[in-house]
């Protein structure tokens, strides 16, 4: 997994609540057995019309946001399915950080496991960043994970909270499985104790 330390990039405003995983990547695109290549179908229905042409009005089709690395979203972002293809598609497109008032649980976990940073902020602060983002490509934001700070284009700093364990894993690009395997003896001990319930 790649490390996440600081990121300076264009933020794209996606001013919608309940952005669900079927919107992020419709099910018919989940047929690959790889982790990559989903970016071209990201937000397919919002991005393309019935004949597959780009919809001009969709934010990621506008020239200012084609290379966006941050997405500013609305309430309950990522609700719906457990498909990890949703964060894979966002990351494959180039998005490395999503900022919203709150996220659905499974999507939240899946994103961190792939090195994508999700930041929860109070609605007013998301609104400010949404306004900043609407002013286009010249208004870049900087996200500093170590310091837990977002630097707005006007220099103002917004602090954010993050679970210390998730932060540690992201900063160091740590893979969960190797961390858990360090506790192998505890797992084995648990399994031994479990033998009192023979039906398991």
């Amino acid at each position: 997994m790649d490390k996440f330390t600081t990121l300076t990039g264009v933020a794209a405003p996606l001013d919608l609540i309940n952005v669900d995983t079927d919107m992020i990547i419709p099910a018919r695109f989940l047929k690959s057995i790889k982790r990559t290549g989903f970016g071209k179908d990201l937000f397919y229905t919002l991005r393309f019309d019935e004949s597959g042409n780009e919809r001009e009005e969709f934010v990621l089709n506008k020239s200012a946001y084609r290379n966006a690395e941050v997405l500013i979203g609305g309430k309950n972002f990522g609700c719906g399915s457990s498909r990890e293809h949703a964060p894979w598609a966002l990351m494959d497109f180039g998005i490395k950080c999503v900022i919203a008032p709150d996220f659905a649980d499974i999507f939240y976990n899946n994103s961190f496991k792939n090195g994508m940073l999700l930041i929860k902020l109070p609605q007013e602060q998301v609104d400010q960043l949404m306004e900043d983002a609407k002013s286009g490509a010249n208004a870049t934001v900087t996200v500093d994970l170590e310091a837990q700070e977002i630097h707005r284009p006007d220099g103002e700093v917004i602090k954010f909270d993050i679970d210390p364990f998730k932060k540690h894993c992201l900063l160091n690009g740590l893979d969960d499985i190797s961390l858990t395997l360090q506790k192998e003896n505890k797992i084995a001990g648990f399994e031994e104790a479990r033998k009192s319930q023979p039906w398991l």
Partner: protein, 468 residues
């Protein structure tokens, strides 16, 4: 301090392998279901890192998401679906995992197969790379939907990393009125608490109306917990649960079974246990429900009308409503019963069990599907299909003009050939009405099996209680 624990606390505490100071826990996983769509990348990960599967006997695999529901004797036409199903076969063989392939009578939707085989047991932790894993909570199993990285983690370690969820209880008091089902109950609950109402929580469903439900009805309720944003849904195991589990192929055998039941009887919320959130509803107030929008919280009673965004005070919500109505091609104020449908789908892990098929067959018997409606009945597993045929339900359906299909996810998520065309409208017993869920541009109204059958016959959404 009181030692009173909730049902969720008890199951959680019994599975903690390790807890860090910051509350991050390693919890043991007793049961793992895998299917073809969310796992190939996980098995690849294991191969790339030279890791094996820790306890292959605790994992069960089934192909369901994109198998065809029509004749399967020639295999799968669509190349990419075939590749996924073949990858699952190859991976299960390589790692020693039991698989119910497409031609196995036990094949079906993973969340139908688990309970049916006795693989799902009370008091266990169960995970699957599918958000509707919450279904298994109906048996008192703590069940989470997980992503592909977590699937890999569970395969390699038989554990997962989690922080403990909060406790929430939803009580439904009294008795449901005649003609109102568990599907209406859960739609009413989601309508009340919203799609983010359960975020961060494990929801325990309680109250007389919940206790009175059959195992099938309980599964429908827990299945849709994820649509309220919760991590898991739970119902305390009781005699109905024990009777359901007893004798199933993978359930504990005599001797062990009695021992297990003694333990399962301790799995209930203690008096005085504290919930972070409590919500209650009166069953008598719940009518048959339908959805009008593109989120499962967009519900209305069948006796009501499409709501108007103008009455909504929250701006984000108002915009979302406008967008939904435009997508759904609906005008505010239209009576729900005036909405014409093109397609009807009975199936999915929400409503494809034998009881669901029976309820729909009661409505279908001696009636005819409206000329302009295509109606699909897709049983949840090969075994349900076989049982339904033994009861003659297939005849009732086909004589009434419904199509009778093979088991699978089908039009729930439109990964196989069963999908809506742009602009087509369905009455569907599945669990999500998201934009494009049942096919690009398709419009979905979520309903119970009886209400779906009634809509197919009337040709529009209708109150099943009004059918003569």
């Amino acid at each position: 301090m009181s030692n009173a624990k909730t049902l969720f606390d008890k199951i959680w505490d019994a599975h903690v392998v390790d807890e860090q100071d910051d509350g991050t826990c390693v919890i043991y996983i007793d049961r793992h279901l895998v299917h073809e769509v969310t796992t190939p990348q996980a098995f690849d990960g294991l191969r790339n890192t030279g890791r094996g599967v820790r306890r292959p006997e605790l994992t069960l695999a089934v192909a369901d998401h994109n198998v065809p529901t029509t004749d399967r004797s020639q295999g799968i036409d669509e190349e990419q679906s075939r590749i996924q199903v073949e990858a699952l076969e190859k991976n299960c063989k390589e790692f020693g995992i039991e698989l119910y392939g497409m031609d196995d009578i036990r094949q079906g939707i993973c969340h139908v197969v688990g309970p049916e085989q006795g693989f799902t047991l009370p008091g266990t932790t169960l995970v699957c790379g599918d958000s509707h894993t919450a279904t298994h909570g109906a048996l008192g199993s703590l069940a989470f939907g997980i992503g592909t990285s977590e699937v890999e983690h569970v395969l390699a370690t038989q554990t997962m990393i989690q922080t403990k969820a909060k406790n929430m209880r939803v009580s439904v008091n009294g008795a449901l009125p005649v003609g109102v089902t568990s599907k209406d109950m859960i739609l009413a609950i989601i309508g009340k608490i919203g799609t983010a109402g359960g975020t961060g929580c494990a929801i325990e469903f309680a109250g007389e109306a919940v206790r009175a439900l059959s195992m099938e009805g309980r599964m429908t309720v827990c299945n849709m917990t994820i649509e309220a944003g919760a991590r898991a849904g739970l119902i305390a195991p009781d005699q109905i649960t024990f009777d359901y589990v007893m004798g199933r192929p993978m359930a504990p055998k005599a001797g062990a079974f009695e021992m297990a039941v003694e333990y399962w009887k301790t799995l209930h919320t203690d008096d005085g246990a504290k919930f972070d959130t409590e919500v209650s509803l009166e069953a008598a107030d719940i009518p048959p429900m339908v959805t009008w929008g593109t989120s499962p919280e967009d519900v209305a009673p069948i006796t009501g009308a499409v709501p108007s965004p103008d009455g909504e005070t929250d701006e984000g919500r108002r915009n979302k409503m406008r967008r939904s109505l435009e997508y759904m091609g609906l005008e505010a104020g239209t009576p729900m019963t005036d909405i014409k449908i093109d397609t009807m789908f009975i199936g999915s892990c929400t409503n494809s069990r034998i009881e669901d098929l029976r309820a729909a067959a009661v409505v279908a018997e001696g009636r005819q599907v409206a000329d302009h409606v295509q109606a699909l009945v897709v049983p949840g597993s090969g075994l349900i299909k076989e049982l339904a045929e033994a009861e003659g339900l297939d005849k009732i359906f086909t004589e009434a003009g419904f199509q009778w299909r093979e088991a699978g996810c089908s039009m729930c998520l439109a990964m196989n050939a069963d999908k809506l065309k742009p602009g087509e409208r369905s009455a569907s017993t599945s669990n999500r009405n998201f934009e494009g869920r049942q096919g690009p541009g398709g419009r979905t109204h979520l309903v119970s099996p009886a209400m779906a059958a009634a809509a197919a016959i009337a040709g529009h959404l209708t109150d099943v209680r009004d059918l003569d």
